[in-house]
Amino acid sequence: MIVSKLFKKTLLIIIVLFAVIALTTLFSSGWNLYQDLTQEYKSKGTAIARSIAGSSVDTLLNRDVSTVQAMIDQFTEIIGVSYVFVVDAQGELISHTFIPNVPAEILNLQTSRNVEPTDIFIKGRGDFIDISAPIVEGAVGYVHVGMDKGIIMAQLKAAMIRQMYLLSLIFIASVAAAYVLVNRVSQPLNNLTEYSRKLAQHEFTAQVEIHSKDEVGLLAHTMQSMAIELSEVFERYELALKDAIIELQNTLAYLTTVIDHMADGLLVLDIDGIITHVNPALSAMFGMRESDLMGKSCRDIFGDDLAEIVFRSRHDPKAVFTTEIALAESRTGKAVATGIQQEYFPLEGTEKGIGSVVIIRDITSEKEVDRMKTDFISTVSHELRTPLTAVKGFTEIIKMKLEEDILKLVQIHDRKSEKAIMRVRDNITIILSESERLTKLIDDLLDIAKLESGKVEWKTEPVSMAEVISRAQDATSALFEKKGLVFTKTIDDSLPELSGDSDKLMQVVINLLSNAVKFTPAGFVTCAARRSNGEVVVSVIDSGIGISEGNQASIFEKFKQAGDTLTDKPRGTGLGLPICRQIIEHHGGRIWVESRPGKGSVFSFALPLSKVEHAELSASKP
């Protein structure tokens, strides 16, 4: 039997209430009954005692004990009367109804004029109320009547049991009534509960059969309309969700398609370097299947180099790390790794990257082109220099043989042959100087080609500019001597050390010095070096022909020479300054010219001090 909770509670309340009521009524009525009965017995006993006392005066005065005995004996037959005894004025027992003997308690009872009842307990006989009545004001004696208390108790008990039966009946009836009533209230409530549970499980089509007009009915009605509204809301949300899912799927499909059609390989790794995504291009590059890659460790599949940049990218998500990596079929790839920042995945407590993305591009052909470029440069250098060496060498031999062997033997007879010999000598000198020029051109061309294609291996060493300048001075001293020019230097004593390639920097100074000599017919050339604002500035100052303003900008470009190349015979290739600019710019510096035509030129370059050095020097200055 299903007992509803409501009923259980009601039952509990009924029991408690009932128990309280039952106990109080039981006690109060019991107590009243007891009082009534005692009172009744007392008055009964008093009446008996008085009547005995009244009627026994004569007999007692006559000392007719047997009559008294007979009289008191008949009283014992009255219900409730347990014993009767008579004592004389001295308290001497005259007659009694005790069989077989008089209990000790009775003998102890004081005789008094008082007719008040006394409670006594007689051992072996029970509780009694002893009521006494004086005979002739106690002059003759006293009559004592004992009323049995046990009978009172028995009557009380019977009455109590009756009352309890009655109460139980009432109790059962009330419980039954409560059950019926509670059920009537709780049944619709149960239905309603069941209904709301169904609603909670999104069963909006469920029905509830409550048509009553009371609060429950109202509640049921409200719930039903709420359910309808809810189901509408849910329907709307479901539609919106479906739309959102479709949009999401489309976006995802779009992204996947884009990724799958990328020419570059895409590799996504989690924070532990485990592969979580690859695209078909990547699988193809390594000749592996996607299933062989997913979930594997990057280090196991792609080796230490890639694992290293992936590791670094994770710890520095803003930087980009690259490395070369061997692909299938002996091709070469370039891997670019970047850390994934949590911008799109805001995880709490992850300050570091949450993984890495690696893009791998097949650079086999670029590498091939690069290699071809390098090969081309060295081939050209070889192929051009070999014939040039031969031309130059054989011309030198011709010159030597001519001077040493042939001309010594030839007798010069006339002006004509003398002139011819002069011509031959001059022409040989021209061939020699032109081949020299060609050699220099090739060197410069190769230099600039290498600089521009990044094929130069730069050294990074401590550079003392003073030393560089004096080495350049040594290398160009022959030029100065030839032209009879004065060379002076003004170099700061405490010139700080730079970091760079000292050979290349010397090449710059040599170029500037030889230009200065070349374009200074007479006068001086000075080289100055000083420190200013975190830079070392080196200037080559001459008193030569100068450069017009219009030409000053262009002379740092390749093959650009100042002046009219048609009238002024070019005395170089026009590659010296572009090479200088490349070298200086590689060192992070700048190069410029200040010049007044006819007065002279100042070519300067500035090289930055390394940041540390700059800071140290600035700090040490007061």
């Binding site: 060295s378 070889h382 060496t389 031969a390 060498g393 030198e396 230099d447 290498k450």
Partner: protein, 126 residues
């Protein structure tokens, strides 16, 4: 009689070098030539020249290989080797030093310089 071996694959340059050293023959210097690395190693083994003028760029076996065979494998330290490296190919110089060359002359060279160097090595006064 001191011997000089010219190792050069370009016939013209070989000829040029031979002509440069022609003048030394009167001082009793014997000049011979090889046009490839393998041949050069054979000739060095057989003739034990005092001096070798060794070009770098050669087919079959390049100058670095010849040099390291002679200096390291054959342990012919007494053979003086001058390598002819191309100007601007700085890494060639490093390779030449690693291979054990005694010195180098950069191409394009001046024949006067070559003759002077050879004379200095052979200690011949003219």
């Amino acid at each position: 009689m001191p011997k000089v071996l010219i190792v050069e694959d370009e016939p013209l340059i070989r000829l040029l070098l031979e002509q440069t050293l022609e003048g030394l023959e009167s001082c009793g210097v014997e000049v011979c030539a090889a046009d490839n690395g393998i041949d050069a190693v054979e000739k060095i083994k057989a003739e034990r020249p005092e001096l070798v003028l060794l070009d770098v760029m050669m087919p079959k076996m390049n100058g670095f290989e010849v040099c390291s065979i002679v200096k390291q494998q054959l342990q012919l330290k007494e053979v003086y080797i001058i390598m002819l490296t191309a100007k601007g190919q700085e890494q060639d110089r490093l390779k030449a030093i690693e291979a054990g060359t005694d010195e180098f002359i950069t191409k394009p060279f001046s024949i006067v310089e070559v003759a002077d160097r050879v004379k200095a090595v052979l200690k011949i006064r003219m």
